[in-house]
Amino acid sequence: MTTTAKPKFAMYWAASCGGCEIAVLNTNEKILDVDANFDVVFWPVAMDAKYKDVEAMEDGSILLTLFNGGIRNDENEHMAKLMRRKSKILVAFGSCATEGCIPGLANLSDSREMVHTAFTTITTDNPHEIYPMTSYDVPEGEIHIPNILPMLKTLAQVVDVDYYMPGCPPESAQIAAVIDLVIQVVQGKAELPPKGSVIGAGNSTVCDECKRTRNVKTIKAFNRIWGIAPEPSLCLLEQGIPCNGPATRSGCKARCPKAGAQCIGCYGPADGVEDYGARLISAFASVLDAKEPEEIDRILDGLVDPTGQFYRFNLAGSLLKAAVPAWKKEKA
């Protein structure tokens, strides 16, 4: 790779909150290295650029694209395909792109219901129940807005992805490290990890970085974090607080448990895990301190909304991907 012409860098946000961009900015000076080593060609949040400019670029001309956000509408899908075509290295950046994240939770309901909730419930002041239309005629001509897909998909479910970078958002330090790595590669000082691997994260789980003391586990009852005053140095799960740490990929330095809050699993599953939620279901259930069905139920009643507990970030990326309403959509 020649260092004369700087390699091209792009970042795009699909269905996401923008937190990932903030995280990138949180790398502070590091961001200058990006500018120093790359020619930033497309980054809607940071600079003005038009889709057609990207379309005009020749395929594979962008070295690195950080793609965050899930695929919720056909615009997202179009851009995903476009960025894939134009970039050498496409990174699913952040939880949304890798596993669906919070927007993915909408997969628990029919997309039409989601639209209803968004436009005519308490969330919106919309007395005349006006809904957006995909196409609309204005004096200047017909304008289009993207259509919503029946369910949110992860980037990998739409296009081929080179690397995954989990986290909601990814830790800035980790981002910095990845940027360094890519620069090293560009300068020929380092090798890229094998395609499809997870970057900017550990390959064990949060417990690995959690300093709380742990014993042989048994769960007698589940508690909500505000329900009890957790003993500060003891494993939260052992105190009945449903902490997703044991199943969640390390890399965040166990921020939440350190702060006394249970891990909610934003770094997603560890290597080789097919279904994040299933791992937790299995783990939690295995250590319940009960043998009688009724007794088991009594304990499980303390675990409100198990689906949300286990799939908060991973729903779209899970084996089942979405709930029946979303699937059933076309059946009726």
Partner: protein
Amino acid sequence: MTANLIENTSPADGRERIGVYVCHCGTNIAGVVDVVQVADWAAKQLKHRGVVIAREYKFMCSSLGQELIEKDIKELGLNRVIVAACSPHLHEKTFRTACANAGLNPFLCEMVSIREQVSWVHTDKAAATAKAKAMISGGVERVRHQVPLEPMTVPIDPTTLVVGGGIAGIQSALEIADAGFHVYLVEREPSIGGHMAQFDKTFPTLDCSACILTPKMFSVGSHPNITLLTWSEVEKVEGYVGNFTVTIRKKARKIDEELCTGCGICQEKCPKKVIDNVYEAGLGYRKAVYTPFPQAIPNRPVVDVDNCTYYEKGTCKACEIFCPTKAIVFDQQDKILNVKVGNIILATGYELFDARRMPNYGYGRLPNVFTSLEIERLTNAAGPTNGNIVLRDGKTTPKAVGIIHCVGSRDKNFNNYCSVICCMQSLKFAHIIHERTGATIYNFYIDIRAAFKDYDEFYQRVLEEGTLFVRGKVAEVSDVPRTESEKGKLIIQVEDTLVGKQRRIPVDMVVLSAGLEPRKDTREVAKTFGISCSVNGWFIEKHPKLDPIATMTEGIFIAGCAQGPKDIPASVAQGAAAAARVLSRIEQKQMALEPVRASVIEEKCSGCRICNGLCPFNAITFHEDRMVTEINPALCQGCGTCVAACPAGAITGTGFSNDQIMAQIEGLLMLNVDQEPVAA
């Protein structure tokens, strides 16, 4: 040591060369499943998934069938084999051996059960054929992800533990000891001998039970290779086949066994009489310090702490005062022994069905209703009545006696099974009671089961003695007379199914031939030794026909009534057989273990300790220093619970890995939506 994974055979590299073999099993399979179609479907449709050859053959398990596989492995360089035939529980070994002969790691051979799970249970040929395809597709996917495994071998400790000092346990212990290996014989009661020691005569030969048993008991007591631990119980069993560590509680006898000479003076002098519910079946008395019976082995008494005056009031001490050797030790404590053994034989015996559970037969309510064990004591010359057969009043001799068979057995309200011994035992009672009292004997039976050597002859003999047989299940035993002649009698209400009418038969004494039941604590015992119980509560043997001696747990064998009701000859035979199995193990010195077990990938393990409490075999240990968990391959039994539980996916299970099962699921469902399989 552990089952090792060979990395380069990961399925991704597409280098699998799979052979699929579909068995006709005569018409057993071919009669329902279109095996020919299945075979060439596999050849065509599964090619892209690595199938290079698919054959069907009349009997795959035949030597020709096996050669077929071996030939293909050599000539076509197969590295995976699928045999679609019967249940793996029948022929997995056969085909794996065949593969091994051809130089293929046996664990790269998988069986698909299209007989037990398809042809024998389905009738719709098309559907059955489709299912067979699906299952083969699943099998192929699974075997692609299978990796070569190497079994691990463990040494066998030559010492053996025998639990239970009844006739079966005695036999096992003697066989092994005579072969020159050491045996620990643990018995819960103060003496060995078991139920047989309580009996008077044994059917059908009517030779005296004690006379044939006591010599054996004696040789156990005096055998240099047998450590006899009576008044003791096994508390904990750790380890695995060849290397068990057993914790035994030796209950305090309150007697110094070294000093005691068994002179019996303490028993003589002890002022406290206690009803003997064990040996005398509640009919007789013993002292608070006692040996259950004169010929007890070891001939050392036990102080019954619950009834001894000293422990109640702190006074008396008669035994201590009179003991010539000062062997009484009131403050003696239980001893805990840890012994290392290689194999274990369980001969824990049975319990008598509690006849109180059938109130309509009146046991416990009507005084002159007796159980079989009580009669054994009544007829026994060494028993409470010196062998006089009398009613509860202790003097009246019965003129008419009714013996009811199958009490609690062959009865869906209690036990469905036949207790095997009751018929013969009842005939024995019929003979003895008639002989001693001249009473008229009625036998109330469902069927007479006298099916062993010389048994039926005995039945004939008893018939000729004029014993009356009424075929029918007794409805009730009542003391409510309807006629003058019934006054003061026990009336047996029964439908005589041969005559086809209801009868009321007045008798003086009723004998309930109560059935055999598993001991109350069988399930706990099973738990301690890591074996399982049948629905009826007997220990489950490895195979009902071909291996009634071993259990599912390596190194643990069962003998006698613990495995199911049986008579003395059968118990002796099984005891000896168990001993033989143990001896062959000892001679082998070491044995190979199934390589199906779990292991932890250290770098993935975050030490969350979820799995730590899950292993009942204590195979999981946690290293505080490195904060990682480790699994002891020898202790691991391969259940895979920890594999499924690990939240980080850091535990893998050989033989049943996630990859394999996930692949099998895919395979099974490929034919689900459209019949054509999609590319993997």
